[in-house]
């Protein structure tokens, strides 16, 4: 394959044994079944980009395209990314931290979650590799993003879901014309079937055979954070963990910026957040283990409910190497944190956002994150997607007759209560 056809990518490389593979739709090493990751030619990238060249480009995640796994220009999701990094002073005051920022992927384009980053990379690469059909198995955000981005790119899409998924979540995929298939059975069986389908049919299964490319899209969140902070990595970044992939890729993203000379090496710490009802990685981290034990998920944070996380081992390694930590929060703590973020910063996050904010609170209170430091919290999805989790926990509207007197009485009552 010529340099022209592989962009700045060098090969796919096994994370376990380092064996290299061609840049195709494959995801595990044939020898030890270790996961494959994209390796890049950083010397060439260093010569090709600078802060100035990046600043001159459109404000999307593709302004860092040399560091993303596509050979040419992106063809899917050209508008994705460069979401706001908000200085959250009111929340900082509540949490007792000097400097706090929210990276708000709840407003990512087009489907209001960070999955648009990974999906636009996976689908752009799928088109480069000649695929016409894309697929995924998902209970929410990933399905929506694949369906929407495939529709806009003219790709055929198959979305596999557990058959008992709430109808509201299915509509968010059906509306884009995706073929949605509900699979009856336990999670493990559904998971195995999806892995088999990915192997049997010549499709781009975004988080199976396209996983090495797909996962790299997460790095763009780290690039954006660093640029939005004036080209520096924050001291502490708190990331929600499902498979653990986002945490490892945020770390890789900061490291790459150092490698290509865009930021100084400040040794940023990356912390992981999970829901107590599905906390294999945080439980292992707190126990000082370098492996996790699989669990059966039982939490309102459905987008993080992976009991056997594929990148759990690597997420634990990153936290160990950056001397960071992990923690987890209960469903009630998740709801409280969603409300706290909404009431202080006007950001309505999905349950995963509640997990991250709740864990931030715990890490600051416990002194694991010093109060005089600077923290970035990653919010990865929009609260409109998980209304059911909070709808009975945020009060009710006041009802009055169409009478000014009644309204004034209500106001007086409210003032009395709040006095």
């Amino acid at each position: 394959m010529s340099e022209q056809h592989q962009g700045y990518m060098k090969a796919l490389k096994c994370r376990e044994c380092g064996r290299e593979y061609p840049l195709e739709a494959t995801h595990v090493c044939e020898f030890d079944f270790g996961p494959l990751e994209v390796a890049y030619d950083y010397d060439r990238i260093k010569k090709a980009i600078s802060r100035e060249t990046i600043a001159a480009r459109p404000k999307t995640m593709w302004r860092y395209r040399e560091l993303l796994p596509v050979a040419g220009d992106p063809t899917v999701g050209a508008q994705v990314g460069f979401t706001p990094l908000i200085k959250a002073d009111r929340l900082a005051k509540k949490l007792g931290i000097r400097e706090l920022w929210i990276k708000n992927d709840a407003v990512n384009y087009p489907t209001l979650s960070f999955k648009d980053r990974v999906v636009s990379v996976a689908l752009s690469r799928s088109k480069e590799l000649g695929f016409e059909t894309v697929a995924c198995a998902s209970t929410g955000n990933l399905a929506n993003s694949v369906a929407a981005n495939a529709a806009s790119a003219g790709l055929k899409s198959f979305v596999f879901i557990p058959s008992d998924l709430e109808h509201g979540k299915i509509v968010n995929s059906l509306i884009y014309g995706a073929t949605v298939i509900g699979i009856k059975g336990h999670y493990d069986e559904v998971n195995r079937l999806c892995a088999e389908i990915a192997g049997k049919f010549g499709w781009a299964f975004v988080n199976v055979n396209m996983r090495p490319y797909y996962a790299e899209g997460s790095k763009s969140m780290a690039y954006e954070i660093a640029e939005q902070l004036g080209w520096r990595a924050p001291q502490h970044t708190i990331v929600p963990m499902a498979s653990g992939s986002l945490l490892t890729k945020i770390h890789k993203g900061y490291q790459e910026l150092v490698k290509v000379g865009l930021i100084a090496d400040s040794q940023p710490k990356i912390y992981g957040a999970q829901a107590t009802g599905c906390s294999p990685i945080s439980t292992a981290q707190k126990a000082g283990l370098d492996f996790f034990k699989p669990v059966k998920p039982d939490t309102i944070a459905k987008s993080l409910a992976i009991g056997t996380p594929a990148d759990g081992f690597y997420a634990l390694k990153v936290m160990r190497e950056t001397t960071a930590a992990a923690d987890d929060v209960t469903d009630d703590e998740i709801r409280d944190a969603i409300k706290l973020l909404a009431e202080t910063e006007g950001i309505f996050a999905e349950t995963a956002g509640g997990v991250t904010v709740g864990v931030a609170k715990k890490l600051i209170e416990s002194g694991k994150i010093p109060k005089n430091d600077s923290v970035v919290i990653c919010v990865t999805g929009n609260g409109l997607k998980t209304l059911d989790a909070v709808q009975h926990h945020c009060g009710k509207p006041h009802e009055i007759k169409p009478s000014l007197r009644e309204f004034e009485a209500l106001l007086a009552h409210e003032e009395k209560v709040n006095a």
């Binding site: 394959m1 056809h5 376990e16 061609p22 840049l23 195709e24 739709a25 995801h27 595990v28 020898f31 030890d32 079944f33 270790g34 799928s126 480069e128 590799l129 000649g130 695929f131 016409e132 995924c136 198995a137 998902s138 209970t139 929410g140 955000n141 990933l142 596999f160 557990p162 999670y187 493990d188 559904v190 998971n191 195995r192 999806c194 892995a195 088999e196 990915a198 049997k200 049919f201 010549g202 781009a204 299964f205 988080n207 199976v208 996983r211 499902a242 498979s243 283990l289 492996f291 034990k293 699989p294 459905k302 987008s303 993080l304 409910a305 992976i306 056997t308 996380p309 594929a310 995963a352």
Partner: protein, 96 residues
């Protein structure tokens, strides 16, 4: 330039030769059980270990199972019945 493979979706039969790449996870009390030997004797499958890690806390084995499809499926069912956690190598194929 590597192209997408155009595999045809041929109908799968119970005898279709199958290869499955799996992670087996044993809880501590089952670590001493010779499940992989037993699977090879009870079912018409070839077992091929690619990685393994056994500690006091957990046993993890990366295993390739090959054989007729119904035998491979039955072997997986038998392992699960014996409380071994069986996942494809692509463990989190279903995401949120």
């Amino acid at each position: 330039m590597a192209k997408a493979s155009k595999k045809s979706a041929t109908k799968t039969k119970s005898t279709t030769p199958t290869q499955q790449r799996l992670w087996l996870m044993y809880p501590p009390k089952l670590i001493k059980q010779p499940f992989i030997w037993e699977v090879g004797h009870k079912f018409k499958v070839i077992t091929n270990i690619r990685q393994a890690s056994v500690t006091d806390e957990i046993g993890i084995v990366c295993l390739e199972l090959a054989g007729p499809r119904d035998e491979v499926k039955a072997a997986i069912k038998w392992l699960e019945k014996n409380k071994v956690n069986v996942e494809p190598v692509e463990i989190s194929a279903i995401e949120g």
